[in-house]
């Protein structure tokens, strides 16, 4: 099945791909920084509330997660190792979705999903958060399928060396 040339042109449009990077990367970077600023115990309490990880692991997992969210979010925005950062974001989103869906399936009441950190209270229901994550995951998967380096640091560097395996073809 092939897409019409017009549709193909639009779904690969650099502006659209830049918007995806700014929005999804921005969500990760900003919420990561918010979690960094707030007392970590609050975020760890929310993670423990998912009833998935042993209590001893929660602080290490939470710390790594905050660090990863900021790094991959910023890397995705500026387009550095853009495919790797997109893949990492997709992996994190898939993990968040599994964690959220299992709380619904097990009937675990979540007052706060911990997505935004306690300093920002969006007051979202778990269902809203699931849909938001699905939407972001779909956007990132689309980004990975399109395989475009347009307007990224990768493209800027690879232009100087067109033989690079990551150079935009």
């Amino acid at each position: 099945m092939t897409l019409s040339p017009l549709l193909s042109k639009y779904i690969r449009h650099p502006v659209l791909l830049l918007v995806v990077r700014l929005v999804v990367g921005g969500v990760f970077a900003v919420f990561g920084v918010v979690k960094l600023i707030e007392p970590h115990e609050e975020f760890f309490s929310v993670i423990a509330g998912y009833n998935v990880l042993p209590a001893q692991i929660v602080p290490i997992f939470g710390t790594v997660l905050i660090f990863l969210e900021i790094v991959v979010g910023l890397a995705f925005i500026i387009g550095l190792y853009v495919r790797w950062s997109a893949a990492a974001i997709a992996g994190l989103l898939a993990m968040f979705l599994v964690a959220l869906v299992q709380t619904v399936a097990r009937g675990i009441p979540l007052e706060d999903c911990g997505c935004t950190g306690s300093l920002i209270n969006l007051g979202e229901s778990v269902t809203t958060v699931i849909w938001r994550d699905v939407l972001m995951l779909a956007a990132v998967i689309w980004f990975l399928i399109v395989r475009s380096n347009a307007w990224t640091i990768d493209q800027l560097m690879d232009r100087r060396h067109p033989h690079s395996p990551t150079a935009d073809k």
Binding site: L36, I70, V71, L80, Y81, E111, H161
Partner: protein, 237 residues
Amino acid sequence: MEEALTRKEQREQRRQEKREQKASQLQRTRNKKLILFGLLILGVVGLIWVVAASQQQAPIVDISPDPSRGPETAKVLIEEYADFQCPACAGTAPVLHEILEEYGDQVRFEYNDFPLPQHNNATTAAIAGQCAFDQGKFFELSDFFYTRQKDWSNLSTEDAQKKFTEYAEELGLDMTAFATCTTGQSAADRVNEDISEGRSARVNSTPTFMVNGKRIVTTPFSTNLRKAIDDALAAAE
């Protein structure tokens, strides 16, 4: 023949040089990207360090007495920042009671109000709690607030106030003093002092528990609070 071979060799040599040049350029690009990524990671680590350093400031301490249990000489001080309308606070309350009973005089408990803005009746309940504290019945009223939370959480502030007055009557409080207190400024000021103290200690959510000044992870509550108390007792010995 010898010259032709030399030319062939020369061509091959040029190709080889080009290949090497390309490989070297590729390596340089890769290195530059790695350096940039390293700088990004360093920047994030620096940010973490700056945030950690900026959070070392001493919190404000309110001077008004807070509702408390246990001797002042106890080796362990448990401080709670809570909101009577918060379901999680209602969930931890019975576990806290059990733990305070269990540890007896080894621990002291201090309660601080931290009504959250999204809970419309939380501040009214906090003020009523302070007024019950004036008459020595804080913990009795706080038990009512938590065990009957669903009865008043969705009421209008006016109706919630009526409900709290009923609770106060049920507890046998001096109703004239209670009414004067709930409409006066003193109790509201004490609630605001607790909020300021909480904010300076970077409290954002409820319940927040601190054991000897160290914040604990509140899930799983019973295990973590017991562990924090045990650790504090061991450290004090």
